[in-house]
Symmetry: C2
Subunit: 252 residues, 2 copies
Amino acid sequence: MASVDRHRQIIDAVRRAGQLSVVELAERTGTSEMTVRRDLELLAEQGLLERYRGGAKSVLLRGEEPPFALRATDGIEVKERIAASVAEMIADGEAVVIDAGTTCLAVARALARRRLTVMPLSLHATNALVGAPQLRLLMPGGEPRPGELALTGPLTEASLAALRFDTAIIGCCGLTAANGLTAYDLADAAIKRAAIASAHRVIVVAEAAKLSRTALALVAPASALHAVVTTDEAPDAEVAALHSLGVAVRRV
Amino acid sequence: MASVDRHRQIIDAVRRAGQLSVVELAERTGTSEMTVRRDLELLAEQGLLERYRGGAKSVLLRGEEPPFALRATDGIEVKERIAASVAEMIADGEAVVIDAGTTCLAVARALARRRLTVMPLSLHATNALVGAPQLRLLMPGGEPRPGELALTGPLTEASLAALRFDTAIIGCCGLTAANGLTAYDLADAAIKRAAIASAHRVIVVAEAAKLSRTALALVAPASALHAVVTTDEAPDAEVAALHSLGVAVRRV
DNA sequence: AGGTTCAAACAGAAAATATGTTTGCTATGT
DNA sequence: ACATAGCAAACATATTTTCTGTTTGAACCT
């Protein structure tokens, strides 16, 4: 499908320019205005940009987290590499809780054919896991946040509080030795905290960029974590600092 | 797609004969054996029949409930008619719990564009409701039963016990004035009971055939119900009996 | 061993989807 | 109110994907 390339091109162009007209986008993509309009309608539906009469504008503001659909296709190979590494760390028969987010979704996919008990914290991961024959799927309650489909709220916390997992696989928006594990969303942070509290072992997945970032909501100090799986590009200083706090860091 | 007709033809033929060879099926459908094999693989995956070397056999036994995928395409118009009628009975702003099952799935679809708070008791309904902009979606916890994707177990019961809905929309396997509301699955029955207990008003959806059937597990006596939506074919005697127990019966 | 059943690979057919053009409608600004 | 740009629907065409049947060689059962 060539359309997916064009979609990416449109998103990038709009993001770079802040906003662009339909005419301008039609020229840049070498297609008709009608096609651009159809694309914009589609992309706006997914929350990837915002439509206005005559064009579209970027939805990326300030320090906010980009929407799920945007992150989903970003750096897939890296996420899959991290996910494969995490899958190696899980033994058959374990009970695992998997956080929301795109990296954790990759982990869920990597675990789908394993013999495990899994509680996913987002409906995306749920959809990746239903139908897996060997897997015992446990759903938490909660309210799915639009787009992200991360389950949050008191029902989710209650579900987690009632269970004890062998391993929690947690995603994050930021992780440093000094500032700990942080998230953009307060409700998400509360869930991550509950998931960590319900698990014997905590594995954090974090692309390298997150190891030099701190988000608004503190989830837990770094010392509460047992392992971090990241990539080669992770800054040595941060890795060393985490290591000195007793966190095993794995770079893949 | 013509293949869906052929699938139905294959399912019916296998069900009628108990079991049939690939060669026989290829002849009956007027296609090649390879196509039949591919179909059988597909259908077996959905649990619609069972594959064995050389052919396939029916998976329908005794008084058991046919698998979800089989019921899903059965009598859609009737289910949609019932669903539309139920949708009329729900006022905007209500909090509604929707049971699992194919008829209830139709109700979920009919309510997707409404301004409501909805807790679906199956992941099929969840998928029909995510992304609905006006709707507040609440997920119960629980373990999704394969195929059906009905959420059951203590997590589901706990989720229901924590909430009070305006209306519960309940499906069933059997409903008579004498034997009450019944279900095939014990775990399902427990959930239905919890849903009924958590709601102020209980609406049961039931195709006519269910009004002359009784399944294994008792959910509730008919007197616990407020309304039943069924079709014209519902037997008059049963309708009258239900009515005399204070249940409003609507035939659409 | 010997026949049958099956899965993979490929090519052609059929269907679904994507695209561009035209046309008439709608919204926006003056 | 009017003019204009933007838009949506309808349709025809092009492209892609999916479906199907045949062939071939491997797997299976007796």
